[in-house]
């Protein structure tokens, strides 16, 4: 039906700029800062200033929902507890660890001789002890998904990366294709699922070429191309494409679990070598960076070092006239001070000069925002309800379904911050209800 079909939108990817240079490793920063915040929960610190730290040692605990330990990413000494900029846009407390460059490993890190005997419960416990959380951007604790009571038919690996500019998942996958299949294999065992699907975007033919020959070793895994549209990496879209089912809350309702490809690769290391989540790949890109690249770094590395490694900002970049974006350009956040640290949910930092200012007319009511909305909302109506503080209307208009994909603001010809209005309406709903 023409009226309730999410078409998505093709957006120019601009991914080429950060793909040209191979994946760089930057494993020994001078200092790392382990932020005491994950999603919205504050972490409990378990080390003191002056403590000696080894790689993989537990330095903080997440409590309550999604309780799990957080590990040190380098070896050295705790030198301070400092406030640093976090990709959530706030300053948070962080444990500063000075690197001793000796890369001493904690005793828990050791290769497993035999990985075939693990049961489902043991694998889930391993996820929890490794502090594994989604690296795609939401940072949801992975083991919570696998503790589901519904039966899981399929584990889906999301390697779609539909945000423009970002190439961190692609570059990692490109480097270690087999690791992804291993991770997916363990995920399938952890969910008792018979089927595993790797979803990637149709223009990444390269992924198919490198994964296809490896598939025969792993039973039940298939590849699936997804159309090059935004938001094709949205969980509901992928589950719908793969299983044909829709759901309201979690993918488990449709018998599926979705994990990011980088998460799967970390899980492969977790199972085989007992290395917890201590590093990730981050894309440093944008028109404001001299040499855009991807870096494989310990969590907590200051982004500033990475930007310097990338040749710094381009000449003539006016800072006040440029954005420093944490995350993708569609859903990311503008950070005011370039003093960010790498955390588990930070997939990219984009430095981008602001476009020239134009004079924009008022909303002309073209309805393009309602047209593109993947969840069939009418943002103009939500804005109207928000401006009259009509909580009932906001509720009836289903504003809580909005996932802030940003398409409505993207397409608006009058440059209205319509996504932001819907977000404010959601806040109002939360407070009012």
């Amino acid at each position: 039906m023409i009226l309730r079909k999410a078409k998505g939108l093709h957006i120019d990817g601009r991914k080429q700029m950060s793909k040209e240079s191979p994946l760089h490793e930057h494993l020994n920063p001078q200092f790392v800062y382990i932020p005491l915040l994950q999603q919205t929960s504050a972490l409990k610190r378990t080390v003191e200033v002056g403590d000696d730290i080894k790689i993989g040692q537990v330095v903080a605990l997440r409590e309550g929902f999604g309780a799990m330990p957080i590990h040190a990413s380098i070896s050295g000494k705790v030198t301070a507890i400092k406030k640093v900029w976090h990709c959530s846009g706030k300053m948070v407390e962080a444990i500063e660890i000075a690197n001793d460059n000796q890369q001493r490993m904690a005793d828990s890190i050791m290769p497993e001789a035999d990985v075939t005997h693990f049961t489902r419960e043991e694998l889930i416990e391993k996820m929890k002890q490794a502090g594994l959380s989604g690296l795609g951007g939401a940072g949801f604790p992975t083991y919570v998904k696998y503790q589901t009571k519904s039966s899981i038919d399929v584990v889906i690996i999301n390697a779609v990366e539909c945000e423009p500019y970002l190439t961190c998942d692609y570059m990692l996958l490109n480097e270690y294709p087999e690791k992804l299949l291993k991770g997916l294999h363990y995920f399938m065992r952890a969910a008792s699922a018979k089927r595993g699907v790797v979803c990637f975007k149709s223009y990444n033919k390269h992924i198919r070429e490198s994964l296809q020959p490896l598939l025969q070793k792993y039973e039940g895994i298939e590849l699936r191309e997804i159309k090059d549209i935004y938001p094709a990496g949205w969980e509901k879209y992928i589950v719908q494409q793969v299983t044909g089912k829709t759901y309201e809350g979690l993918p488990a309702e449709a018998g599926a679990i979705v994990d990011n490809s980088a998460t799967a690769m970390v899980f492969a290391d977790v199972v085989e070598k007992n290395i917890p989540l201590i590093s990730r790949v981050i894309t440093i890109t944008g028109e404001g960076i001299s040499k855009p690249r991807n870096y494989y770094v310990p969590l907590g590395t200051p982004v500033k070092e990475l930007i310097e490694l990338s040749g710094g900002y381009i000449n003539g970049l006016v800072h006040e006239k440029a954005w420093y974006i944490a995350g993708g350009p569609m859903t990311g956040r503008a950070i005011l001070i370039d003093d960010l640290i790498v955390s588990d949910t930070l997939g990219a930092v984009i430095v981008k000069p602001m476009p020239d200012e134009k004079m924009h007319p008022e909303c002309l009511g073209c309805g393009k925002c309602a047209d593109v909305c993947p969840v069939f909302l009418t943002p103009t109506e939500i804005r109207r309800a928000y401006e009259s503080k009509d909580v009932d209307a906001i509720k009836n208009l289903n504003a809580q379904k909005c996932m802030a994909c940003g398409l409505c603001s993207y397409i608006c010809p009058s440059h209205i911050e319509i996504t932001d209005f819907v977000g404010k309406a959601k806040d109002l709903l939360r407070k009012g209800a």
Binding site: I2, L3, R4, H319, E320, K321, A322, W323, Y324, I325, P329, M330, T331, G332, R333, A334, I335, L336, I337, D338, D339, I350, V351, K352, M354, P355, D356, K358, M359, H360, P361, E362, C363, L364, G365, C366, G367, K368, C369, A370, D371, F376, L377, T378, T380, E381, N396, L397, N398, A404, L407, S409, Y410, I411, C412, P413, S414, H415, T419, D420
Partner: protein
């Protein structure tokens, strides 16, 4: 440490690009008007000049008249800004303000739907009603409830028709000489005779091909069906208008007219085709019913809006006393844009569920009742029913 600019996601916007944004939409809209304006000029100027019925200056007049409409509405709007806003008293500020207010469009559209011999002061009156009363007093571009051009047109139609017909009316110098027209437009004939008869409605004007090519009497630009269809294809292709709004509107009129024809014993397809091609239906469907500011925003709302327009147009045409139902029905439906938008947005967001069922049934019920009423009200069936149900004469 360097300080960076603040901003809100998404950081990519279509409107930031050079050739995108509302300005481009409006430019494409004007390009869409071009074939229709050229046709109006050809039909009322060039062709009549070649027939030898008017002078060279009079040949240019239709074009001048249309451009004058745009100029007058721009002047009115500029004047309004100048008087009400202290900040826009320099020429530069005024220009920038008018540029994002698209003042020229209501005037152009108004001039295009008026008869050729409308006195200039009547055009000014219409432009005043449209631009000042219909648009600026509501808060300017983006806030108006009624389509400014149509409001001007309806104001002129209700108050100045006598003046216009005294000044020469709808017929250009060539058409006045054709006896078979008898001084009436096709829809005028239908309103007067209420007879569905090919020999009365179509034959005097040639064949239905003349209706398509637009060589029939009517307001300045509304008769050029082919030119309007070309404009429709362009506008839909450029995504300036939603392609289905005009289509649903016209299809509703087509089907209802056909049913009306059948119910009065004339099953030929010529009658619905005639209904679609005569009067301002195509012009209204393509340029007025799709005007973004005054029509619903969400696609479902647009569908409902277009369906109601179709039914109302048929009602006004065959039952009301006015020959032309398009302008009035669009103005009436403009009033309901906000409620339609709100209700359909809820239905669209939730799907048809228990909570939205009442709205859905209400909309469709009202539509069906109106449509059935329109069909029944056509003379033969209606008068045949009266002896059996005398009460319907009192009620309806």
């Amino acid at each position: 440490m360097a300080r960076f600019a603040n901003g809100k996601a998404p950081f990519l916007r279509i409107s930031d690009a050079k050739n995108a944004g509302t300005g481009v939409i409006m430019r494409d809209f004007m390009i869409g008007l071009l074939p229709v304006i050229l046709f109006a000029w050809y039909k009322n100027g060039i062709k009549v000049y070649m027939d030898g019925n008017i002078t060279f200056f009079e040949m240019l007049y239709p074009l001048i008249f249309i451009l004058l409409g745009g100029l007058i509405s721009t002047l009115f709007e500029g004047l309004f800004f100048y008087i009400t806003d202290k900040n826009v008293r320099t020429l530069k500020a005024l220009g920038a303000k008018l540029k994002v207010s698209y003042a020229i469009i209501p005037g152009l559209l108004l001039a295009m739907v008026l008869p050729l011999y409308t006195p200039i002061w009547v055009l000014m009156f219409g432009a005043f009603m449209g631009t000042i009363v219909g648009k600026m007093l509501f808060g300017g571009f983006g806030n108006n409830i009624f389509n400014p051009a149509l409001l001007g047109y309806v104001a002129v139609g209700f108050t100045m028709m006598g003046v216009i017909s005294n000044a020469g009316g709808l017929f250009n110098a060539s058409e006045v000489l054709i006896d078979s027209y008898g001084g009436a437009t096709p829809l005028g004939v239908l309103a007067r005779t209420k007879a569905i008869d090919y020999n009365i409605l179509v034959a005097p004007y040639g064949t239905l091909w003349n209706f398509l090519f637009g060589t029939i009497p009517g307001a300045l630009a509304e008769t050029g069906s082919l030119a309007i269809i070309i404009a429709y294809i362009w506008l839909a292709f450029r995504k300036v208008i939603k392609w289905f709004t005009p289509l649903i509107y016209v299809a509703t009129v087509f089907i209802l007219s056909w049913l009306i024809g059948i119910s009065s014993g004339e099953a030929g397809l010529w009658f619905p085709v005639y209904s679609v091609l005569s009067g301002g239906l195509l012009f209204g469907a393509v340029f007025m019913a799709t005007e973004p500011v005054t029509t619903p925003r969400n696609p479902l709302g647009k569908v409902v809006f277009a369906l109601f327009l179709g039914v109302l147009t048929v009602l006004f045409r065959y039952i009301g006393n006015l020959p032309e139902g398009v302008g009035t029905s669009i103005i009436v439906m403009n009033l309901f844009t906000l409620p339609i938008d709100r209700m359909t947005a809820v239905v669209r967001a939730n799907g048809v569920k228990k909570t939205t069922l009442v709205t859905t049934i209400g909309f469709s019920g009202l539509l069906i009742i109106l449509a059935i009423y329109a069909i029944l009200k056509v003379q033969t069936i209606y008068t045949a029913l009266i002896p059996f149900f005398p009460i319907i004469r009192e009620v309806f």
